[in-house]
């Protein structure tokens, strides 16, 4: 360990040396207790003082409740027992599809993008806000289907449902 010696007074330097060689610092350890390792805050929304933050059902459920009170956003066969073919490709494609949907339907997606794969078909669903004219929405739907099926080389179906108001998605306030 190097110590920068840039103190004009020798007393300060001594004090610094004392701190460095302090036994309390030297005995700092990492905790390996299981209870302390538990991180329950990851992926959860922080509570506001006045409970003014609206959450959807998806956001209200913590990540460890996946498969208990909420289900997965990607449905495919990658996680089946001894399934090794195309698992990584599926994951990367899912990330791409999500980004594509959020960009194409900008500020319109009210739910997470749900991607369901059946045989060679990819079904993308989600709840939309009625922010644009229906014909534009239909255009974007067809555009997404066409472009994604060309990119992913398999048929893609976009099943959209619209919601009257953004408030309809609120499950709770925190």
């Amino acid at each position: 360990m190097t110590l920068a010696v840039s103190f004009p007074k020798s007393g300060q330097l001594l004090a610094q040396l004392h701190v460095v060689s302090c036994p309390r610092l030297a005995t700092r350890c990492i905790s390996t207790t299981r209870v302390c390792e538990k991180n329950l805050r990851a992926g959860q929304h922080k509570i506001t003082n006045n409970r003014s933050k609206p959450l959807t059902y998806e956001q209200a459920q913590p990540p460890y409740k996946i498969g208990v009170t909420k289900s997965w956003n990607s449905w495919n066969t990658s996680s089946l027992y001894e399934e090794k073919e195309r698992t990584s490709e599926t994951t990367v494609e899912d990330v791409f599809i999500r980004k594509f949907m959020l960009g194409t339907f900008h500020n319109l997606m009210l739910s997470e993008v749900i991607i369901k794969r059946r045989q060679n078909l990819i079904v993308i669903c989600g709840l939309m806000y009625r922010g644009i004219a229906p014909r534009k929405m239909y255009f974007l739907q067809g555009y997404t289907e066409e472009l994604l099926s060309c990119l992913l080389k398999r048929p893609v179906r976009v099943e959209l449902q619209t919601v009257e108001s953004r408030k309809d998605m609120i499950f709770k306030w925190i």
């Binding site: 066969t77 997470e112 794969r117 398999r154 309809d168 499950f171």
Partner: protein, 377 residues
Amino acid sequence: MAASKAACGVLRGFAGRRGFLLFCSKNNRYVTQARTYASVIQHAVEKIGPIEIEDDEFRVLVIPGHTLGPERKRMERRKQKEVPPPRYKNMSTEQDWTSVWPAAQSFKWSVVPFPVRQGFAQRQENQGMPPGKYANAELMKIPNFLHLTPAHIKQHCAAMKKYCTAWPAGLETDEQCETHFPLVVITRSYLVDSPSIRDARSRIVTFQVKLSSLNLDYHARDKLLRLVGDRYEPDTDLLTITTDRCPLKRQNYDYATYLLTALCLESRKTEPWEAEKTVADMEKYVWDLMESKKSLLQSVQHMKERLQSAQVDTAKIPKYLNELPSTPAEEEVVNLPLVAEYRDAVTRLHNEGEDLSTVCQYKEAVKKLLLNVSAPL
């Protein structure tokens, strides 16, 4: 005069923009509030000049960027069409559900006519109620079977019926099927989400056949068992051949067929070198080749000699010794029923292993050979 006319027009124009009213007649020359705009007015007058208007009306001066002649119509946002009520509200109870939900699709709250909830609410969340079907993404995630109702299945069956044939007569039970079709071919097709339907694992082909259905004699059966090794399961009498060497299912199927055919034909053949089979090569305990036979013959011979040379209590010796000639031939001894019984007992003890029944059988056989069982000990 022209300049004053223009000034009045300007004032009016400003008044319109600023939102307060300024009244000025043709004869009034200036109004105090307009003084700040004097330079602007001057500039505008020089630039565009007065506007020709009738004497009875107030004049209007148009300044580019500030006032426009007639008030521009504000672009009204097109009113969105009213969204029609959800479809389930117009549904009749007599409708054909198969035409409403013909194929697999995600859950649609506006089409499903029954109330359904999905989700979990703790305490006061969502008024303590699980979320309903409207705007519920959880319902859209899970697979539904609304396209596989009994009505759908009926239609599927009716459509497929023309491709079906009657079940062949004489194959009603599993036993009959096994008799007529002894060979079982197992192949697997893998259904995963992927752009390709090819799967390397689907090439594997398994043949299963019961050895009893191959009509093999003892030699052929023994030879086949030696050839197949651990592919034979003695408990179920099943021979299993699995092939996965070739890249295609069809090729593996052909290879397995070839293997089974070759196995059967080779087992039925008897090669010249098979005559060189020794005791160590025997597949099981054969009493006639073993030391046990020699020992038995020696013992019988010995007992017979002792019977002739010494005075022995004849009541205690086994009766068959008296019936034997003084120097009995091997066949004479082996053909004795007691010896046959002993042979079976020893063979069973070796081939089936030691258990209570085989050991007891062996004990009884030995007692009958060495003692007169009927006499009291």
